[in-house]
């Protein structure tokens, strides 16, 4: 409980400092509006339906892209971890793709999928894919040989080998990488919505910045941060639920 309080206290202290600095003129309130001003402007956006719509559009793309990227990343990672020829065939190409900043691939996704949600979902899925793929593949490779030999010695089937040996062994790493992937996915969603303008929190933030409406811009930024905390927390929660034996220390 004390740790939760600490986690809340730090941002609260930051916002109190920000509020005081803006109110006393220590910082330019036109460029850095006070948090209470931002809240009021956010309320205006909520009443107009703008913020709710933007949140829905971004979160919908995030969840869909995350699901697609995580499933493909997990499956391919597992197969590449288990099958050395497949790993040899695909790893160099995927490493090369991994090195390319995802955002630069957006024009290609537009060419492939057209406009609208599809290229943004693909962008998010790609970002998540790499994190989950690497986590799955490397952790499969690192499963101690003793576990596998012990299982073989009692004659477990390949399916049971996966469900009872590999899966429990790789899950902690996969969940950590999925959490990182979720945070990166949020970055991709916001950046992508800025480039393909018109919808979502990314558009709200950058359009407000271009129009010099700083209150709306900060409202959008803060909402993105809150979504990040919630979604990354949800992934952690799922991780604790599916791997109860891996409770973090302390």
């Amino acid at each position: 409980m004390t740790y939760i309080a600490l986690g809340v206290l730090v941002p609260v202290l930051f916002f109190v400092w920000w509020e005081l600095a803006a109110r006393t003129g220590a910082i330019d309130a036109r460029i850095f509006p006070a948090p209470t001003t931002i809240v009021l402007e956010a309320w205006e956006l909520i009443q107009a339906g703008t913020l709710g719509t933007a949140v829905f559009e971004t979160v919908w793309r995030l969840l869909l892209g995350f699901a697609i990227g995580a499933v493909i990343g997990f499956c391919l990672g597992v197969f590449m971890g288990l099958l050395k020829p497949l790993r040899a065939a695909l790893e160099p190409s995927l490493d090369a793709l991994y090195a390319i900043p995802n955002l630069t691939l957006l024009p290609i996704f537009i060419a492939l999928f057209g406009f609208g949600d599809a290229p943004l979902v693909a962008l998010i899925a790609l970002a998540v894919f790499f994190y989950v793929w690497i986590g799955s593949m490397t952790s499969i490779i690192r499963v101690p040989a003793g576990y596998i030999e012990a299982a073989r010695s009692i004659g477990v089937s390949p399916f049971s080998m996966f469900t009872h040996v590999y899966f429990p062994a790789i899950l902690p790493t996969v969940m950590v990488n999925a959490r990182v992937g979720m945070v990166v996915a949020i970055t991709m969603a916001v950046a992508g919505e800025y480039i393909i303008g018109g919808t979502g929190l990314g558009y709200l933030i950058f359009n407000s910045a271009q129009l010099f409406v700083n209150g709306w811009m900060y409202a959008g930024i803060i909402v993105v941060g809150v979504i990040g905390v919630i979604l990354a927390g949800l992934v952690s929660l799922v991780g604790r639920w599916v791997i109860p034996w891996e409770r973090p220390r302390g």
């Binding site: 330019d28 036109r30 460029i31 703008t50 957006l106 024009p107 537009i110 060419a111 057209g114 406009f115 609208g116 480039i195 393909i196 303008g197 018109g198 359009n207 910045a209 271009q210 129009l211 010099f212 409406v213």
Partner: protein
Amino acid sequence: MSYDLAVDSPAPACESGYPEAVPLADSTPLKVSVPGTGFEGILPVLLALDKGEFEAENLDVELIVLPASESLPALSRGNLDIACSAPTASVFNAISQGFDVRWINAAYYDPADNNTSGLYVKNGTTVADLEGATIASGAAGGPSDYPLAAMFAEEGFGLADVTFTTLPAPADNKRTALDNDVVKAVTATNTEAVLFSDEKKYTNLGPITLSGEPYNFSCFAGPTVIIDDRAAGVAFERAYSRVINTYLQGDYKADPEVLSDIARVMEVPEEAVTAYPSLTWDWLPREGTVDRLQKAWRERPDILQYDTDLTEAQVVDRSLVGEAHGVTFPASE
């Protein structure tokens, strides 16, 4: 010399080399921002640097590449002296919030007889068909809203009756979106218009830059030159106008030497410069442009963040460019 502030009045005609340089007593640093270097709108600044026109005024100009919205706080706080950009709604919003920024000169317009910028559609689509449609355009609150509003008004609807979307670079994406019916129309600047030159497929419903009124691009100054060091601001305006009067008159792109200079300072091939016609350069902001821009932006929700329109006096300051030319313009209302 004629300095008519009426819209559609000809660009001020001045002799080459006018106004002559009047070097400041001391070398004066001046930070000037531009949104990029590959855009012809900033030619007066690039050529003034290249031709030593700022040096002739004893100005030590530092060029900074900065998006317009980022330059506004810097201007107001004195970290930047002059920002050259399109007069967007962001400038008006900033002024309404109390930022000390003023529109101090103008730049150009596309020639009426050869204006290829436009609202492009597939053949068969009319302006009336665009009510309720999605249009790919530049960022919200840009100057192209002004001619678009006029175009739509003739058919009885307004900017609020269409949905605007922005597409990522390159401009080919606009053509792809139009070809695939993702959008019903796209705005194209004169540099992008070549993508829609196939008359068997595309129609230009009308220009998105109005000829005869220089509102597409301009320079904005902060308090460091409007108030603190007006001499530096006037010197900047002298160099800026002198470049226009000397190098950017008539069909200047037909002059191989000027063309070569332009391509070099813009860091683009000469073919990119000659892909569209010579612009008509005009450094004098006209009366009423501020009102007309705000009227157009009012049609779109959430563009202007203030209730009462700003007056021209709150936005435009012609005193620097006037002093550079030895004329006093009537005070804006």
